[in-house]
């Protein structure tokens, strides 16, 4: 193996492969490479140590505060909801629209009406400080709110600013 390697190196040497070549416009090229590196690295270097804090959705709405400590649970355990609420909502949608099933038995065996606008938002009436906190942080724009009203009470009373 070593002999064969040497043979290749020798062959390359004969062709002049290892002879130093002149780099045209070397200075400019190297400066260019350094500038490129600086530009690419700038956002990373600039933001070192400034990581955005993980969002903390608020769960202290009046409707939730009214509940006793034991009752203060969602339809499924909190860790499950954190990860899977979007899947749960999709299942709810299909069951309600397609199967005409509107009741959901939660993990505490309590029965809930499957409705984003009427059930979820009843407790989580703070759209900006609950839904939006994580969605903004993770750059997600759910399509729910083009039809479902995120602040039903304010909307019904005509108090929303975004109304045209």
């Amino acid at each position: 193996m070593a002999d064969e390697g040497n043979k290749v190196v020798d062959a390359l040497r004969e062709t002049g492969f290892f002879k130093p070549k002149k780099m045209y416009d070397g200075g400019k090229v190297i400066v260019g490479i350094i500038i490129l590196f600086a530009l690419v690295a700038f956002p990373f270097l600039y933001n070192v140590g400034k990581a955005a804090k993980a969002p903390e959705p608020e769960i202290d709405t009046p409707a939730i505060k009214k509940l006793s400590k034991a009752e203060r649970v969602c339809v499924e355990p909190r860790p499950y909801m954190k990860v899977n609420h979007m899947k749960l909502l999709t299942d709810w949608r299909d069951q309600v629209v397609r199967q005409a099933k509107r009741d959901y038995v939660g993990f505490t065996k309590k029965t809930y009406t499957m409705s984003l606008q009427n059930t979820c938002l009843e407790c989580h009436s703070n759209y900006d400080n609950f839904c939006n906190r994580c969605h903004t942080y993770s750059g997600i724009t759910p399509h729910c709110w083009t039809c479902h009203v995120n602040k039903p009470k304010e909307w019904a009373a005509g108090k929303l600013k975004e109304e045209k």
Binding site: D91, R93, Q95, V96, V97, R98, Q99, A100, K101, R102, D103, Y104, V105, T111, T113, M114, Q117, N118, T146, C147, H148, V149, P152, K153, W155, A156, G158, E163, K164
Partner: protein
């Protein structure tokens, strides 16, 4: 082939039985309704039927009552009032006799029929052409006959609007929200680019309530199960002559008009 004696045969048979039983038990476990399926239920108070249908008693349906029915329906479902007839959204509305019943128009039509407009809505046809053409199954016929729409799946192609011979479907050319005057916070709105129509108040039936227009009509609209011989719709249909819109098209509408 090796010969097996009686003793070996019994051993193999015994082991096979145990394995088979275990497998069968596992199969039963796998096929049994899962945890998720057992979590969804229709509401106990929900109204159910084999075939929902409506009878419009045009003798009782005067202009005032019709206005009330339309107002209630459009308020419940957040139907926008856009004003421009080219962009209008309607679930239930009024048509003169010649438009509602073309082909059944006579030269000497009874005066009340000629003068009074007719209340019309989605006919929830037994053979709905809108369902046949929908490329995404956003609209489909439920087992109880209601022609439902899934706004989540509508792509706004408007094939259904072209297919419906009754003009029962409307298209949202723009965001309807600014045009919703009376708002119901319990029902969603629609968005730009989807088709909408009457849903026979499926969301109210699921809660055990009659459709909004029926409640507002003071008996001029009768709603019930066609398959139940003692239901009110069947009584009205059995006692009076009724007509349907454009029966010659074969869509088999399930909204009947007593004239």
């Amino acid at each position: 082939m090796t010969d097996i004696d009686r003793r070996e045969f019994l051993k193999i048979a015994g082991v096979s039985t145990v394995v088979g039983l275990l497998g069968g038990w596992k199969a039963v476990e796998l096929l049994a309704p899962g945890e998720l399926e057992a979590k969804y239920f229709p509401k106990p108070e929900a109204l159910t039927a084999k075939r929902w249908a409506m009878v419009v008693d045009t003798r009782k349906m005067d202009g005032e009552t019709a206005k009330k029915c339309i107002e209630v329906c459009h308020r419940i479902h957040n139907v926008p009032d856009i004003g421009d007839p080219k962009r209008e959204i309607k679930w239930i509305w009024l048509e003169p006799f010649e438009n509602a019943f073309p082909g059944q128009l006579q030269e000497y039509l009874a005066e009340p029929l000629k003068e009074n407009p007719f209340i019309v809505l989605c006919n929830h046809c037994d053979n709905p052409p809108c369902v046949r053409v929908c490329p995404t199954k956003a609209t489909w016929k439920r087992e109880d006959g209601i022609v439902m729409m899934d706004q989540h799946r509508c792509i706004g192609c408007r094939f259904c609007m072209a297919a419906c011979p009754f003009g029962s479907r409307s298209f949202n050319w723009g965001d309807p929200r600014p045009f919703i005057k009376k708002r119901n916070p319990e029902y969603p709105t629609r968005e730009k680019g989807v088709v909408e129509k009457c849903n026979f108040c499926a969301e109210r039936l699921a809660k055990g309530l009659m459709p909004g227009c029926v409640e507002a009509s003071d008996g001029a609209l009768v709603f019930g199960d066609l398959a139940a011989s003692e239901s009110e719709v069947r009584k009205v249909l059995g006692q009076h002559f009724t007509i349907k819109r454009k029966p010659y098209l074969g869509t088999n509408p399930q909204v009947y008009y007593r004239v």
